[in-house]
């Protein structure tokens, strides 16, 4: 048995905000051996990021962190260590790469200077490392400022910068969330190769179970600051012992998921328990909870089905666990109107002025969309898939009438303007106005006021499954999932003929994604709305859409039925997109390799 490089035992972290302390991590214990990749998964707010910050001694000081327990990296105790020790550890032992590589680099310094500053390395080593991360032209990259290179290149630079220090532990906090699928696959391969070569343990924080399953060695499932299950990735994915892991795994979707019916989701929290110290934190949402679950706190114990550990009193019963709800009935058969076109884009082109100026000082236009022809019939959902920069959002904004195309025409059938569901639901709600006021906003121009408006708002909240008591709440009092529902309620309070969704699930975790896809799927069928669903996630596109259109560099390269398009992609680009989707297939082939 190799000596563990990281050993955490009894780690608890309490943060206080506005005077009230909350325990974000409760009695976490685990170890990592050199070269091992451990994925931390869980819903947002489960404490994944806090573990990473605690390991670096970077918990936000303004929330007065209280850390107890022990964190040892290569034998050095970090809890309660003096700042000097922590600084040395951050330089040599623990490195981190973040979700947003652009903001992790100093925009005023060249890559070379930043790498030099972080590692005291000479130019040859810098070029060598940049080359090793797969950057084609190390000299040019080294002399560039961060805004001159792409997001994927930035992440590679950060990886080079971190791995150069030959750290014992690398914390990768959602390192690929901001990147395209094809780039994501390359970055993950790179990280895995480097970890093996340098014997660096990686703590991989992610909300994407598919990525975790295809990338990590071990899986650590966090729920509300507790480790509920830990074990080899293959074991946990095949036979989850904790009802929460099982629920998470059931809620994820990939290219093989059943798209004829709503996706399985995790049950929502039913009632809070008063005494958390003597109860299972998951009991309020658990479908196999017994009376003893709210009186005895389960500790990690050997899991019944695999070599890992699980914190559940009744883990033996997890496989028998009923689904969150009765098996969902299949979606009703399609009711796409054949002749009513809700949106027709004909030969649409758009270009934006770029920073470059020509000789006479005119900004040179850069073409973003060229000759796009796309039509969506009433009741039909078209998913627009492509990488960032392909022009997806521009196309959506043209369809919404927010910007005018340079050429071509946009035809919509309706007097009710199309509605938009945004990627970041929290920032799509005005922070100082109540949910009810914002949801009811669209009724005002029609002169609907007073009790009638109140009734309609309540109806809309009910339609999206939002507690009517939240009508007078401000967005800050809502969870991310509730904000997303409120945004959808605002969009459907007057049923639009065209609903435009701009990456509505890319910022959400597994269970929320599935819930949102189900909600949108149900609403569009019930209201007979045409829908344009912009996403970079081919799996989500396949679940929700009747047709998938693939956009590459401003041109539609393929357009077709989801199953056929994924099974037999015609364009090279589509083939690359399909291959880059992590999922059960990848993990199965990995398991086969191991066996």
């Amino acid at each position: 048995m190799t000596e563990p490089v990281l050993s955490i035992s009894g780690l608890s972290v309490a943060l206080s905000r506005n005077g009230s302390a909350t325990r974000v991590l409760d009695d976490i214990s685990f170890e990592a051996i050199p070269g091992e990749i451990i994925a931390l998964v869980g819903e947002s707010g489960a404490g994944k990021t806090s573990i990473g910050l605690a390991l670096q001694g970077l918990l936000p000081r303004e929330s007065h962190p209280v850390v107890t327990g022990s964190i040892r990296i290569a034998g050095i105790e970090l809890v309660g260590a003096r700042p000097k020790v922590l600084r040395a550890a951050r330089r040599g032992l623990v490195r981190a790469i973040s979700q947003d590589p652009m903001s992790a680099l100093n925009p005023t310094m060249t890559i070379r200077r930043q790498m030099h500053e972080s590692n005291d390395a000479d130019d040859a080593a810098i070029h060598d490392w940049l080359g090793r991360t797969g950057l084609a032209d190390p000299e040019r990259i080294a002399d560039a400022l961060p805004h001159r290179i792409s997001g994927g290149q930035c992440q590679r630079v950060l990886i080079a910068m971190s791995m150069m220090a030959r750290p014992k532990l690398l914390i990768a906090d959602e390192p690929t969330t901001a990147l395209d699928l094809t780039t994501q696959a390359q970055i993950l391969d790179l990280l895995r190769d480097l970890a093996r070569a340098q014997q660096t343990a990686i703590l991989f924080v992610t909300h994407d179970l598919n990525v975790a399953a295809s990338f990590a060695d071990r899986l650590l499932v966090l729920y509300a600051g507790h480790v509920v299950e830990i074990g080899d990735v293959g074991d946990v994915v095949r036979q989850p012992a904790h009802p929460y892991s099982a629920g998470l795994l059931a809620a994820r979707f990939d290219l093989d998921s059943d798209r004829t019916r709503p996706l399985p989701t995790l049950p929502a929290e039913r009632n809070r328990i008063a005494n958390l110290a003597h109860a299972c934190v998951y009991a309020p949402r658990c479908t196999i909870a017994r009376p003893d679950c709210i009186t005895i706190r389960p500790w990690l114990r050997p899991a019944p089905f695999h070599g890992g550990a699980v914190a559940c009193l009744h883990a033996e019963e997890t496989p028998l666990r009923p689904e969150s709800s009765a098996p969902e009935a299949p979606w009703p058969s399609k009711a796409i109107s054949n002749d009513v076109v809700a949106l027709a884009l004909t030969d649409v082109g758009k270009s934006f002025a770029t920073g470059e100026r020509s000789f006479l000082g005119r900004r040179r236009p850069k073409s973003v969309l060229s000759a796009i022809n796309l039509s969506i019939r009433l009741g039909e959902c078209v998913a627009l898939v492509g990488e960032s920069g392909a022009g997806k959002s521009t196309l959506l904004r043209i369809a919404a009438g927010l910007i005018k195309p340079d050429s071509g025409s946009v035809a919509r059938i309706d007097v009710i303007p199309p509605q938009v569901v945004y990627q970041d639901a929290v920032s799509a709600l005005t922070p100082w106005l109540s949910i009810g006021e914002q949801v009811g906003e669209r009724l005002r121009p029609l002169g609907i006021g007073g009790d009638e408006r109140r009734r309609r708002v309540l109806e809309a909240l009910d339609l999206v499954g939002l507690d009517p008591g939240l009508m007078n709440a401000l967005p800050a009092e809502l969870s991310v999932g509730q904000c997303q529902r409120a945004v959808i309620a605002r969009a459907v309070i007057l049923a639009p003929k065209l609903l435009l969704c701009d990456e509505p699930i890319s910022a959400l975790d597994v269970s929320l994604s599935a819930t949102t896809l189900n909600l949108l799927g149900a609403l569009r069928r019930r209201l007979g709305t045409a829908m344009l669903f912009v996403t970079h996630d081919l799996a989500a596109a396949r679940i929700i859409a009747d047709r998938i259109a693939v956009l590459q560099s401003g041109e539609l390269v393929e357009d077709g039925d989801p199953e056929t398009l994924i099974a037999a992609p015609k364009a090279d680009y589509t083939r690359a997109l399909v291959a880059a989707v992590p999922g059960l297939r990848a993990e199965r082939s990995r398991a086969a390799c191991r066996a």
Binding site: G19, L402, T430, R442
Partner: protein
């Protein structure tokens, strides 16, 4: 904003502001109260002789008496009213004018934005004190004219801040979402845009109370404030400067009160800034 109105809201507001800054906010409220009720809480009539001239501070006359035997404490209490209320007034009028124009410039954009912005530029580059002097010289001395003079060079700052905040907000998803929901016109401006600019404006305005009071005092010092018997703090300091070595309380105490008000206003500004940042 309505968040601050709840009970727990106020508590967390002061906790975020910090204790020293909370004292500043409370202090500004107390000073405002004193200024409002000054004539009723002053122990003596500030305009008549009540004792011998040049009495040093004592139990009977806390701040002593001035050159003709008026109770100096009463005069300073009145002075708070004569100095602080015009200060607040100037800031408020500048805020309304500046924020109004800034709101329109930022939200409408285009040519109108250009015209308003260049006007703001024009007022910002004018030499402030000179304009104030010229205004008072042409309108004649007096409180109201002094206030007009200061407002003339004070509003552009708020217009600039408000306009930039509105431009920033205009690009945020929630404002775009509101537009998609069909919100336009005054409702968009007043419900969706203006509240977002309030924190920045409020913080600047609280800090500016100091600047305005200093300017008012400086103008009184130059003899452009209110006519002689009015107990304006800056003027009182100015007139008593020559007796600093003999009757120290006459210049020092009004200056100290100006200092205290400015300090409290600055602390209050910091507190509001910190509390709103955390909100």
């Amino acid at each position: 904003m309505s968040r601050l109105k709840t009970r727990a809201g106020w508590q967390s507001f002061f906790r975020r502001a910090g204790w020293l800054e909370s004292i500043g906010i409370a202090g500004v409220l107390v000073v405002t109260l004193v200024a409002l009720v000054a004539p009723w809480i002053a122990p003596f009539d500030p305009d008549v002789r009540v004792a011998g001239a040049y009495l040093p501070p004592s139990a009977a006359h806390w701040f002593g008496t001035d050159e003709i035997g008026r109770d100096f404490f009463s005069r300073i209490i009145l002075g708070v009213q004569y100095t602080f209320l015009p200060g607040i007034g100037i800031v408020l009028v500048s805020l309304v004018v500046g924020a109004g124009l800034g709101l329109i410039a930022g939200a409408v954009g285009g040519t109108l934005d250009h015209i308003i912005e260049r006007t703001v530029d024009l007022f910002i580059v004018l030499p402030a004190m000179l304009i104030a002097l010229a205004t008072v010289a042409s309108l004649g001395p007096g409180l109201f004219n002094t206030m007009i003079a200061i407002v003339i060079f004070w509003w552009p700052v708020y217009a600039r801040i408000c306009r930039d905040e509105i431009r920033r907000l205009n690009a945020l998803p929630h404002v775009e979402a509101a537009r998609v929901s069909g919100v336009r016109g005054p409702r968009l401006l007043l419900r969706y845009l203006l509240p977002g600019a309030v924190p920045a404006l409020l913080v600047t305005a609280t800090h500016d109370i100091t600047g305005v009071i200093m300017t008012l005092s400086a103008m009184s010092f130059l003899g452009l404030g209110q006519p002689a018997p009015a107990p304006e703090l800056g003027a009182m300091t100015a007139r008593a400067m020559e007796s600093l070595t003999v009757y120290w309380w006459l210049p020092i105490l009004p200056a100290a009160v100006i200092f205290l008000i400015c300090l409290l206003a600055n602390l209050a500004g910091d507190g509001i800034r910190m509390a709103l940042r955390g909100a």
